[in-house]
């Protein structure tokens, strides 16, 4: 099953290696990883997406909890959560597909963040499905490259 794990860690060198090391040790792949400072600059939040057997993920989460540099671990896939990801796509359309690309961007509420005589750079925020749909539609229209940030997620307010 796919798991989204949110980890609050000390903002120190070596912490990321410690966290990712647990996945290496069990032969797990990290599908996406996103790290940045929180409102308190001495802490970072790490959002990590992986898939594997539930009990192994559970073991990994507990081992995170044991780490001195880890303050809080949460498996967001077990609770209701909101997820977002940012994507930047570079598209090189032909003369005839140029308006088509802009129309698609409009439908997806994507922003053009760079424009040149030959290409566009488009920015899009959304869930994983939305980004994947966007990429698929752009593919025949001259898509040259995609850069994604990886998922960030917060749990919904508890009712």
């Amino acid at each position: 099953m796919r798991h989204i794990i949110s980890i609050l860690v000390d903002n120190e060198p070596g912490v990321l290696a410690r966290v990712s090391g647990l996945f290496t040790a069990r032969g797990f792949n990290i599908e996406s990883l996103c790290v940045a400072e929180t409102e308190n600059p001495s802490y970072s939040r790490l959002t990590l997406v992986t898939s594997g057997e539930d009990w192994i993920i559970d073991q990994i989460i507990k081992r995170f909890d044991n780490m001195i540099n880890v303050l809080k671990v949460e498996d967001l896939s077990t609770s209701e959560s909101i997820q977002r990801e940012l994507l930047i796509a570079r598209v090189v359309p032909t003369k005839s597909t140029r308006p088509e690309v802009l129309r698609i961007a409009d439908i997806f509420r994507s922003k053009v963040i760079d424009v040149g005589p030959k290409s566009f750079a488009l920015e899009l925020t959304g869930t994983k499905d939305k980004l994947e749909a966007f990429v698929e539609i752009l593919r025949p229209l001259g898509l040259k490259g995609v850069t994604r940030t990886g998922l960030v997620s917060v749990s919904r307010e508890k009712k």
């Binding site: 060198p13 070596g14 290696a17 410690r18 090391g21 040790a25 539930d54 009990w55 559970d58 073991q59 507990k62 081992r63 909890d65 044991n66 780490m67 001195i68 880890v70 303050l71 809080k72």
Partner: protein, 517 residues
């Protein structure tokens, strides 16, 4: 305020933290520490070893025999990588050990400098925590934190990496009195909800069983555990790591072994509620045996619990808190373990042991030693996987007398651990017992025992001697001992062995006994 260099801060901090003895070996990047050492000689004693792995085992044995933390100092690169086996041994058995390594100066970190290794990366998966000190002024705090982390919660090794410029730099000496780490619970207590579910579980169970592991080996626990067993008349097993914890209790049924004919298997099969305190059952018993068993797992480490097994009750708390609280709050319950059945089990245990002793020469020697030592001596051993069950043939009056590499099964652990143990328990008899092959891993340390004028008995079981198929007969351990200058003896497996052993066990100084089996 007085200014110190990093090397002096190292000793000031050690002394301030209550450390009086360290094990180590000098080398390039820690030379400054060795330079200032003479002026601190009265405060912190340094034991010069011949190999860093042995130094780590010594610190480990020192810690296990006394409960105090063990300290190692060594240089970078090859020295630090040599300690990894020792660190891993301490990590597997949750032993508080602190490793201080030298490192290349911070500007050269990661440049493949001479004797450089990434100690933090290498030891990440075998330490409880590790840290690189970047500024001289941070050194005392880092050391205090390392000691705190190592000796609290689930104990374990902590490595502190000290670059050369940190050791040479200057700073004031400021050390925190109290360490507070956010989100680190050093002593989780038994909460009401868990206690209630335990009560509910016990009220339904007819045949509970208690299994104690190293996690329950704390001095303050002994009284409470014995009271617990007496009060509930609950049959008890200990893991190999916790032998000697409740040896004299009436309901003690020996060691938990992975053997289908053993009493421990029978008890597990019969029991309808197994309370496991501070023991990693999965390391000892195959999962299939525990499949449909109701387990109550009490542990200070959440990673020992598996919530996907619905029949388990997981209690996250320290063993001290568990036995302290259950002492008063649990009502004695009616259990139906039949008296006759239990006494039958005890005699089965004895019978099983007798059978093994008559077939296994090592077991026979262990029994002999046990009779001679009467449980008072510290016995340090290292055995391969198939021989670990032999440990049960030695009686221990105290869990601190039982020293062996459990989880890691490190060959060559016993002898250096015995040297370390002798330093923390100078008034106790200390013996090391290893097979000929394992002894060769760390036999160079005989010279350390001689230099330090220790009273130590080393028993080497030379197995190859009687093995006619063996291509290589192995060395003559008696002459090895003699060449170092130890009093050495060679005995054969015969009727006079016991009296021979008895005589040589009483000798002073370093005594090496080779038994050809």
């Amino acid at each position: 305020m007085k200014r110190f260099i990093g090397a002096e801060l190292f000793f000031e901090s050690l002394y301030n933290l209550g450390i009086r003895i360290i094990f180590g070996l000098p080398g390039g990047y820690v030379l400054k520490i060795y330079d200032v050492m003479p002026s601190y000689a009265s405060k912190v004693k340094h034991i010069l070893t011949r190999h860093e792995q042995a130094a780590t085992h010594m610190a480990d044995g020192f810690s296990r025999a006394s409960g105090l933390p063990g300290i190692i100092l060594c240089t970078s690169g090859p020295a630090a990588t040599n300690t990894v086996t020792g660190i891993s041994t301490a990590y597997m058995d949750s032993v508080p050990v602190l490793i201080f390594t030298g490192q290349v100066p911070t500007p050269f970190l990661g440049s493949d400098a001479f004797q450089e290794a990434d100690h933090i990366g290498i030891t990440r998966s075998c330490t409880k925590h590790n840290t690189l000190v970047r500024k001289t002024k941070d050194l005392p705090k880092a050391m205090a934190e390392a000691l705190y982390i190592s000796t609290t919660g689930r104990k374990g090794p902590v490595l502190v990496d000290m670059p050369k410029d940190v050791i040479l730099g200057e700073s004031d000496f400021k050390i925190p009195n109290k360490i507070k780490l956010s989100s680190y619970d050093e002593n989780p207590t038994l909460i009401k909800r868990d206690l209630n579910s335990l009560k509910a579980r016990l009220s339904k169970s007819k045949k509970p069983l208690l299994i104690l592991g190293r996690g329950s080996c704390e001095d303050e626990n002994i009284k409470n555990i014995k009271a617990f067993i007496r009060r509930f008349k609950i049959p008890t097993l200990t893991s190999v790591m916790a032998l000697g914890l409740v040896e004299d209790s009436d309901y003690y049924f020996g060691m938990l072994e992975n053997d289908i004919t053993s009493v421990s298997y029978e008890l597990i099969e019969q029991s309808d509620n197994i309370i496991v305190v501070g023991c990693d059952l999965n390391k000892i018993i195959p999962k299939a045996v525990l499949k449909n068993k109701k387990l109550t797992i009490v542990d200070i480490d959440k990673a020992m619990m598996n919530p996907t097994v619905k029949s388990n009750l997981n209690i996250y708390c320290s063993s001290t808190s568990f036995f302290e609280k259950t002492k008063d709050e649990l009502e004695p319950l009616e259990f139906v373990w039949e008296k006759e059945y239990l006494s039958k089990l005890s005699s089965k245990n004895l019978l099983n042991n007798k059978k093994v002793i008559s077939n296994n020469k090592k077991a026979a020697i262990f029994t002999m030693l046990s009779e001679l030592l009467k449980g008072e001596a510290v016995v340090c051993s290292d055995f391969s996987y198939e021989d670990v069950n032999l440990q049960k043939f030695i009686k221990f009056n105290n869990y601190k007398n039982n020293i062996l590499s459990g989880g890691n099964g490190t060959p060559g652990y016993g002898f250096p651990a015995a040297i370390g143990a002798k330093f923390s328990r100078p008034n106790s008899k200390v013996i090391s017992i290893s097979s000929g092959n394992n002894f060769q891993f760390n036999m160079q340390e005989i010279i350390v025992a001689l230099e330090q004028k220790l009273d130590l008995t080393i028993i080497v079981l030379n197995e190859r001697f009687s093995d006619k198929k063996a291509k290589y007969k192995g060395p003559n351990f008696k002459s090895i001992g003699e060449s170092f200058g130890a009093k050495s003896f060679q005995f054969n497996m015969d009727a006079s062995l016991k009296s021979n052993l008895s005589k040589s066990l009483n000798r002073k100084g370093v005594v090496l006994i080779e038994v050809r089996i």
